[in-house]
Amino acid sequence: MKGHRKVQSPKTWLAVSVLLVLSTNFCWMERSSRLVAPLQTSILAIRPPWQVPITRWPWTESIATWPFALFATAVAGLAVFVTQETRSKGHELWKALLLAGISLAMQPDQWLLTVSIVLLCRSLAVGNTDSMPFRSASLTLMALILAAMTTLDFGLAWAVALGLFISGRPSAGSADFVHSLKTKGTVCGILLVSLVFLSTTTPGFFPALIRPISWIRQNHALMPSMSVFTGSLPVRSGHILLAFVIVIQVWQVLRSPSTAWTVKGMCLLFAGIGLGCGRYTVVTAVVVFELGKLRFPVVSESTSGSAGPRKFALASLTMTGAYWGWLLTVNGMSIPENPSQPRRVDPTLWRFDGPVMLTNLDHAIDWQGAAARKRFPVLLDDRWDTAADHVPEYTRATFDLLEGLREFHQKPVGEGGYRIFLDQHQPLIIAIDSTQLEPIRRLSVDPEWRVIAIDAGKTVFGKTTHLLTRGQAVRAGELFFQLEWPRPGVSMQLDGILALGTAADSRAVSRVLTAMRLPYAALRVLPDDQSIETEAARCWAYVELAHRAIRHTGEPSLLDQCRAVSGMNRLRRTSVTTAGEQDQVRRALQSLTDNTVRSTDLKKLGAGLMGLTPEQEVRTALTNGDFANAERATNDIADVGVRGFYKVLIQSPDLTSTDLLDRFRSVLKSATLPSNLEEEAAFYSGCLQLEVGDSQGAYESLTSSDLINPHSRLAAIRDLYRSQLNAMQ
């Protein structure tokens, strides 16, 4: 590597990388990372899958799983090694992007593959094979064996090796043994014979070998990790950075007249794989970077000593610090206060076994730990190389499940209806991705299925018609009931039912509970912070509460309506939400102002606002979230008590539940408050007491509201709440 020299700021870059890896998982002290894919098998697999060879030895189980902190350091070390081992003038930015991308998007089971590929790229570089042929050949062999023994995607490493081997040309006048024509012919022949032999004698070998190509047949909707632009925020950001690096590198390589066409072809092939399949983005970005590295002009000694790169490294470190600040404040990430709180529900705590159907095949890993594998076999896992014939059938059933198409129907291609598939394959458990809220909402009212566990990754439904799952369903039901309608002095056992983990995990669980029509439970599991994400989850619970009130009373509960509409309007204005979320917000707002079951026709009221009393104007404005008009009309109300009541409602979006409760208590003390508003204020107090967990107080407030007018419009919802609270007395 003539002309290259060691970088000056690897420690800074190492710190940047470690911080970025740690930012992807705030439970780094507890979580471990599995570097080797576990033994896998699925019920619908049509052939025995190829297993990562070292998993056949049980003792490797312990060394294959690393503490997350160690994994973070390993990723950072690799990222720095790839990007900073040599420095090239003018390309600091690309290298920084690659380092950030690797750090954010590296998955544990891709680390060993990336290490193998970096070793291959370095060992098969022409300069190395020329000067140290034996060392180069040994390193190549070692990397190939490492890939084959520890990864499922060894085909990618072998393809890189083959490509570099074929494309490499010995330097003029040298006797490069590795790249000589004779050696190439011999090695290719041996390799071809070996591959044919292994493919015909070893079940699952060939499909595993072509995984880097066969992913194209897999539907990304079933396996989001296949997609470059989905996944968690850090992974998505990492992929975008890496995609950028790939495109730039391919551009550089293709433009270079001195680069061999075989190398250009390799670049294009790996770039295609990396941009098409998120699972390979990190590793192919590294390959493309390594292939393109020779193209960078080498820095001269005079400029290499400049302070520019060091400043750049320090600037990157500062930016990483700012990113951490953003995560901890605006984004609402937090280090868990209770380190023992698990992030995932442990199915081995359940007292039954049975087959599992996954709507997100990336979650197969949750069911393939040593203890769970035999008890909870999955119908189909993330091994797209083993069950190609069943994928269409499974995909169709899963899409139908997600869309709520239970019964037989005609599709543009073929027929559908998930019930027939379930009858045929009899899964006892359906695990739906916890971000798929609409399917969760639909299935939660299906009499055949009950939610038995929730974590941030998956919401698990058990088949209620089966005796074994019923016990878990009852335990889970009791816990959800307790969260929605809290009984004083009852301790809640979350084990095996709820895993709240980090703040982000709690928010995801909260959204699931809202989708299950349990808004008070959803509010109860939310973290105590003011981040946008937490506020959004809280608003969705208010939307659910507002709907519950409208459907029971025919009129909005102004307390819930104000908080929901105001929250949704705030969400609509924020840039944090995606287009899909914006659409959800739009629909929620539309649903809140829908008039179908209104006892008062708001459209007509709106049309004739001039004829309304100030109080009617306030109520209409509050229902529509028009706080400016509500405030103006409130000032026109003469009665102090009435004005005070509406002032509290106008302020409600900015107050905590406890503060609101105090305000309503003050309102209730007003001597001039008319009885209808007194009844309403007492009802709101009861609702707020439910929110803060004071079930006894809630019951009393609801009863006092009922005593004022037992036959009012609020009677239906009040009776429901009181009966639920009474059920646990």
């Binding site: 194209i216 539907n219 990304h220 909707a221 997609s227 470059v228 495109v247 391919v250 551009w251 293709l254 433009r255 007249p257 294009l268 770039a271 295609g272 941009l275 269409p392 995909t395 169709r396 899409f399 709520g404 198409l405 239970r406 019964e407 037989f408 129907h409 005609q410 599709k411 543009p412 291609v413 073929g414 027929e415 559908g416 027939i420 009858d423 609409e438 909402r441 639909r442 009212v445 809202t514 989708a515 659910e544 507002a546 709907h547 459907r551 009373t553 025919g554 009129e555 629909r587 929620a588 649903s591 179908t596 079951v597 006892s599 036959h711 009012s712 419009r713 009677a715 239906a716 429901l720």
Partner: protein
């Protein structure tokens, strides 16, 4: 600038990068393998023809508009629907509950007032052709934007010439503002209701786009989207009904009339009246079906109204039970007419509608033995 080979390299590079990006996009957009597995064909967004053009070439269109299928869904504001709803005021049971329907010109509002609280509900759709019964439905968005439906508590029964509580609903009405009007169905059941009463049903993330509904079971509901067929003036003839085998043909009807696989095996038995309503379930158990090539359309011509077709005649039966053919199995009572009265009796359900039992068999106690 880029002279000579450099220009070529630039061109190749740009083309390759564009190709890569296009390839990457194609992996993530609809159209990827398996994308066609999504959804119900009636929720397909494109490919539908304007059915007014069907009559230009197909004479079946003349009578089709009078069929029950064609009229199985209408807007609640249509004159026929208004006319029926106006008779609710003659229903004593409804009046006793304080229920009435107010015609506000642009909308029909159901009102009921238990305990002096007025509850209002806008009626949106009218299900059923009126040949047997007509039930009204209101659509309601839920908190996630899905379309739920509320099935109105009062149904018009043609046999009664009056209203009665909708089948499947409790005798006592509910308390809440919604349940006081009827029964609430969640999004997936709502979609199922509409899908069997319409030809095109646009659905986006659980939300039924009501303005895009093509109401009624019309040409393209059975024959599939026919935009290309119409555009090519019949040159393009997509694979469809005419080329289907008989099982496929029966399954098309069974999309709404139900398949045996949709019920537990234990339910499929001759003494279970609950399956009478689902004609393909019984038909597929019949010896007549199993030992012949018959299908639903052997007896029923879906293009013609029931009273204009010979579905209740005996010529179909005589194909295999002809007294003039010695090889045929004949009626034990020596009859060669009125086969249906004994072998396919009309069975009274728990509500005032009869369904013909399509499990064709020798009944020991003919007619209404399942009641």
């Amino acid at each position: 600038m880029w002279p000579g080979s450099n220009q070529f390299a630039l061109f190749i590079s740009v083309a390759a990068i564009c190709g890569l990006i296009a390839f990457s996009m194609s992996c993530h957009l609809p159209g990827h393998p398996n994308a066609d597995y999504r959804g119900d064909v009636i929720s397909q967004t494109g490919g539908w023809a304007d059915e007014s053009s069907c009559a230009e070439c197909h004479n079946q269109s003349d009578e089709f508009s009078k069929t029950g299928h064609a009229n199985t869904l209408r807007r609640a504001e249509t004159p026929a629907s208004r006319a029926l709803l106006s008779k609710l005021s003659e229903c004593e049971a409804a009046l006793a509950e304080g229920t009435r329907v107010i015609d506000e010109g642009d909308q029909l509002i159901a009102e009921t007032s238990p305990d002096a609280v007025l509850h209002r509900l806008k009626l949106d759709w009218c299900f059923g052709s009126g040949m047997h019964a007509t039930t009204w439905v209101s659509t309601l968005p839920d908190s996630h934007g899905n379309t739920d439906t509320l099935e109105y508590r009062w149904t018009w029964f043609t046999s009664l010439q009056g209203f009665a509580v909708t089948p499947g609903q409790p005798a006592q009405r509910g308390d809440s503002s919604v349940s006081v009007h009827g029964l609430l169905f969640d999004g997936s059941k709502a979609r199922r209701c509409f899908s069997c009463h319409s030809t095109v049903l646009p659905v986006s993330s659980g939300q039924i786009e009501e303005d895009g509904i093509h109401p009624g079971v019309t040409c393209q509901r059975c024959h599939g989207p026919r935009e290309e067929h119409v555009r090519s003036e019949g040159e393009i003839h997509p694979v469809g009904w005419t080329t289907s085998d008989r099982m496929e043909s029966v399954r098309r009807c069974a999309v709404c009339h139900r398949l045996p696989e949709e019920r537990p095996a234990a339910d499929i038995r001759p003494d279970n009246p609950a399956i009478v309503r689902f004609q393909p379930m019984g038909l597929q158990q019949s010896a007549c079906f199993l030992k012949s090539e018959m299908r639903c359309t052997t007896c029923h011509d879906p293009h013609r109204p029931m009273d204009a077709q010979d579905s209740a005649g005996i010529w179909q039966c005589l194909q295999c039970h002809n007294p003039e053919d010695d090889t045929h199995t004949l009626c034990g009572l020596g009859r060669n007419d009125d086969c249906l009265r004994c072998h396919m009796p009309a069975v009274q359900m728990e509500f005032p509608v009869k369904f013909t039992d399509h499990w064709i068999r020798v009944l020991k106690q003919p007619a209404e033995s399942l009641q």
